[in-house]
Amino acid sequence: MGKNIIEKVWDQHVVYHEDGKPDLLYIDLHLLHEVTSPQAFEGLRLNHRKVRRPDLCFATMDHNVPTKNLPIINDPIAKTQINTLAKNCEEFGVPLADMGHPDQGIVHVIGPQLGLTQPGKTIVCGDSHTSTHGAFGAIAFGIGTSEVEHVLSTQTLWQSKPKTMQIHVKGELGFGVTAKDIILAIIAKFGIDVGTGHIVEFTGDAIHKLSMEERMTICNMSIEAGAKAGLISPDEITVDYVKGRKYTPQGDKFEEAKKYWLSLASDPDATYNKTLVIETSEIEPFVTWGTNPSMGSGVSKTVPYASNYTEESDKQALKKALTYMDLQEGTPLTDIEIQHVFIGSCTNSRLHDLRAAASVIKGKYVHPNVRAIVVPGSHSVKKLAEEEGIDKIFKDAGFEWRESGCSMCLAMNEDVVPAGERCASTSNRNFEGRQGTGARTHLVSPPMAAAAAIAGHFVDVREIMNVPV
């Protein structure tokens, strides 16, 4: 019987196996940032331990870096955290792309961009959106700070082998429907915890026709479906993306690697513990209306009614969410007015995302009631976008064009949505207070965010896009 990619990559990395115990798993790449690492480095110091393989680590600063007026950091506590990371990296010999470094950016944007992310690797980071790197056919997952310390000390982790799940996206993707809409539709259909205890492989033509950047958007949000990790089998598109990057094998080594990477794809007769299917005909541009990523609908729909739900706990959850969001049952999503637009985050801040948003806003203006910002995912994305003139399109339309970082996705820096105001956001979480205390987040794709910025409320972006000929 054939094997799926999850089993292949997992089995390849088991250092020690004993029945009834978690596996001791080797970690190929450990990414670090300033928020979840200080206590781990401190643990090493207290116990007189060293970093076992600094060559397999890479650190950057993203979560609380400012995105304007660099290099001034007004928040003294954020400054301490940033300085602590620099000090720790120096002391323990960990490579670092710090503020102002050309390789700096959101950790899940720079890993792939630098070629550190490769098929078949095990990749961890003290950040739940590490699942992003699964787009390359890697097993990539978020860990806590104690586990960060464990990986720093031993380059391994004790992990129970997760179950495997296939989510099959069937059919051709419709006009104006993006990767973000696919993943939001999956989470809305199957639920916020459908993936718990599983690693998910996304399959189907609709998935394998996507670019690497779009695949990253899908895998990024697999954690929002509760999955341990999400991945996509490597194919020619994967290999083409990886080729020629800073840390990618070169020449003959690359050819050897390519053969190995492609061999990792799930076998045609592979099986999974569970398979779920979604039809592309069910997927339209999405908008979330609630306080977790599963609370969303196609833009043509309304805010749901409590009577749509059978379980009392779901009715209660809806009520709580709508109270927080200040929305009424039955309100058409296109009637919801917004005051902020955020285009950025590890979900949607890559060149492809910025191009898609720019194509919608070109020659138009941000609505007078809206403040709109674009935060490129990395220094390099920003530079490439500027070379194409994308920054000019945004600026001419009235968007603020910022330096790279996590920014308004979690509002740890100064980019905050004020209480009671609404944001159309290309990020990944609409939890209460995520973008600021009392702030209301609606998750959308970059083109949908751009369209909302112009209209001042949600619109079906397909109505204002040029139909392809």
């Binding site: 390849q12 250092v15 020690y16 009834g20 115990k21 978690p22 001791l24 080797y26 928020v35 979840t36 200080p38 206590q39 116990n47 979560h63 928040d75 506590i77 301490t80 955290q81 602590t84 078949g120 003290g126 950040d127 739940s128 590490t130 997952f141 978020g142 860990i143 806590g144 700070t145 104690s146 310390e149 464990h150 000390s153 031993t154 391994t156 004790w158 997760p162 916020i192 915890d193 718990t196 205890g197 954690i223 509760g226 990618t248 094998p249 080594k253 690697a257 190995y260 959850a317 709580k320 979690l410 509002a411 740890m412 209480a419 979480r429 939890f431 209460e432 207070g433 995520r434 205390t437």
Partner: protein, 196 residues
Amino acid sequence: MEPINIVKSVVTPLNRKNVDTDQIISKEFLKRIERTGFGQFVFYHWRFDQDGQPIEDFVLNQPKYKGSKILVAHENFGCGSSREHAPWAILDYGFNVVVAPSFADIFHNNCFKNGILPIELKVSEIEELLAKGEQSVLEAEVNLQNQTLTADGKVYHFEINPYYKEMLLNGWDEIALTFKYEDYIKNYEKKRVQFS
């Protein structure tokens, strides 16, 4: 970490599904570089209003649950961000045990590294504990060795991976244990697939 076996206290019923780690510890409290002192911020925006005044009907503000070490909640507890500040805050506040029908994976792992026992029970059992805990003061006793939670004369059994059970019972440092596998790690590194 502190070993854990028997925990006795009143039960705090948090009757919500999908409690995410952003709610357990909000982002503005993540900038500390220590592991300690997060308890004062746990569930901050559910405990306090915008003026910093306690919201009276939130369970953690109700006097009858004071000193509780056992938190009971609904499905998918600890979803979202990987921040270990969430279990640090829960522990620092005084909870050693969290009981729910299911936990998000990263939060679940993080508990075992910090001496917090996550207990999974059936939805019907959780609903029973939540209802009793809300109606009156429900005392419970958790016994990790026997894998039981006893409340109101009823014994609830739970399952736990023996590896994590031993870790919690002994309060072991996992890294020190893993160092014993150094030979396996070295051997693995010799044959490991790598291209660059």
